[in-house]
């Protein structure tokens, strides 16, 4: 029980652009990795903002290390967000900062490390992710894989217990994101770190993720481990895997 770090209990919420979640429940144990997938407008886009309490009006409860995030005050909510790394689809790198400065930012703001220690640590991350040649570049000069790798470095700079990763492998050349994949794999295999993924391509996570949750119209329509994902006869899952328009999901 102690190793559960995140729990969603019957969470229902609606975003400003009317995407919604209905009665979502799951628990995340330390070291577990979950893949969320489903078609467009199935609620995937608001599950992470919901977990990070960017949507305030929600029903049910979200517990982080046993404490309800609903009860968090102004400072606690910021500390909570600091503890959860978020690699979102748009990346949001600061346009007037270089790769190096972008990665340093959370450390400069939060950590007690000296500026020299931060520089050394950031350089080691940059080196791990093969970004040395472009560390002085600004986001406008980066390719999509360089942007992804920089955002990833920034998201893990504070070594969060939970990392939220949105559509990371989509629209990327596998060759250019090898270093990202290897670093992420190390994190996935760590017994102390958890990663939650949002993707349209769940099959890419076979062998990496422990659990799979499929959403449709804001509801969970399939939940299971890798074996279930590969062998279940769940009609939603089958329709999704077969990319078929025939099935319980009406796809527009």
């Amino acid at each position: 029980m102690d190793d559960i770090i995140l729990t969603l209990k019957d969470v229902s919420l609606e975003s400003e652009d009317f995407e919604s979640l209905h009665n979502i429940s799951f628990s995340l144990r330390k070291g577990d990795n979950i893949v969320f997938f489903g078609p467009e407008n199935s609620g995937l886009d608001i599950i992470f903002p919901g977990i990070l309490r960017f949507v305030d009006n929600f029903e049910g409860d979200i517990l982080y290390k046993g404490e309800s995030i609903r009860e968090f005050d102004y400072i606690e909510i910021m500390n909570y967000r600091k503890d959860v790394g978020y690699l979102h689809t748009d990346h949001g790198l600061i346009a007037n900062m270089s790769v190096e400065q972008n990665i340093s930012l959370p450390l400069q703001y939060h950590s007690k490390m000296s500026s020299r220690e931060i520089k050394e640590f950031v350089n080691s991350l940059i080196s791990d992710l093969n970004l040395d040649y472009c560390k002085k570049f600004r986001p406008v000069d980066l390719t999509s894989s360089e942007i992804l790798r920089t955002s990833y470095c920034r998201a893990i700079a504070l070594d969060p217990d939970i990392l939220l990763v949105e559509h990371a492998f989509e629209r990327q050349s596998p060759l250019n994101i090898m270093s990202f994949y290897n670093s992420l794999k190390k994190r996935i295999l760590s017994p102390h770190k958890s990663v939650l993924f949002i993707t349209f391509e769940p099959e890419k996570f076979v062998g990496l993720a422990d659990n799979y949750i499929m959403l449709f119209n804001g509801r969970v329509v399939f939940m299971g481990n890798s074996y279930d994902f590969l062998h279940s006869e769940n009609e939603y899952l089958v329709q999704y895997k077969n990319m078929s328009v025939q099935g319980p999901m009406a796809i527009l």
């Binding site: 967000r81 949001g92 959370p106 955002s151 920034r154």
Partner: protein
């Protein structure tokens, strides 16, 4: 619908819109005050670069333009007063006129106008673009207090820049203007300096500090407020224009109020 009803509906809408605008701005200020809760967690090194860059842009880069405008205004005022005052036999009050017009009114207003049109519009556009590019969201997801991280350094930089620019504006307007005026009229430099010093009062100095402080807080505050407003990319120019016009209007009103407070 009758014409009277149309007018009533139009006026009602405008009043409600105005009221909502004030309420939203007050809410924004409250949220900034609220964000000071996290001030003790803020490490100065993370905002140091923003303060330096903003001061460089608002203060140093605006310097040539401020000097140019100050020279023209100073020269014009001195030439006008030197040619017109003797006709009325009040040439002994030239120093008072210069202090009243340049130090008390034109200096602070012209500086504020230059800062609003250069830096105010840039602040609004920058924040609005950051919001649309989800840079603000990334800051929030990193547990960074966006209000504190974005607004606070800009206020510090604006206070420093506006105070410095006002002092430079006044000095250049007096001495540069004096030099320009020598092309048309002759005033001995010692007479010029003495009349200026006689006309200066401690109130003028306090008013300059107070105005730079108030403008230094209000200009970035209003421009940041409008920067956070756009809901989509196409709204960015609308809010940039709104930020400039409304900040200018508010600064004119504040300037009139402060002058009334100090000198009435």
């Amino acid at each position: 619908m009758s014409r009277e009803n149309n007018i009533a509906v139009y006026t009602g809408r405008k009043v409600i819109g105005f009221w909502k605008g004030i309420k939203n701005f007050v809410d924004f200020i409250i949220s900034i005050i609220h964000s000071f809760q996290s001030f003790k967690y803020l490490r100065f090194r993370s905002i140091y670069d923003i303060i330096i860059n903003q001061t460089r842009f608002t203060g140093i880069h605006a310097l040539p333009f401020v000097v140019f405008i100050a020279l023209l205004i100073g020269g014009t005022v001195i030439i006008q007063s030197m040619t017109q005052f003797p006709k009325f036999g009040i040439e002994g009050f030239i120093g008072n006129l210069l202090v009243i017009i340049i130090v008390r009114e034109i200096g602070p207003l012209a500086t504020a106008m230059i800062v609003i049109s250069r830096s105010g519009s840039a602040i609004t556009a920058e924040i609005a673009t950051q919001k649309q590019n989800r840079e603000l969201l990334s800051l929030e997801t990193m547990g960074i207090d966006t209000k504190l991280y974005i607004v606070f350094p800009r206020i510090i930089a604006s206070i420093i820049s506006i105070f410095s620019l006002m002092i430079i504006f006044d000095s250049v307007a007096f001495f540069g203007g004096y030099l320009i005026s020598q092309l048309t009229v002759y005033i001995p430099v010692d007479v010029f300096i003495r009349t200026l010093l006689d006309a200066f009062s401690i109130e003028d100095f306090i008013a300059t500090i107070l105005k730079s402080l108030i403008y230094g807080i209000l200009i970035p505050l209003l421009c940041c407020y409008y920067g956070f407003m756009p809901g989509s990319r196409f709204e960015i120019p609308i809010y940039v224009s709104r930020a400039v016009i409304r900040t200018l209007s508010i600064i004119f009103v504040i300037n009139a109020l402060l002058s009334a407070l100090f000198y009435l």
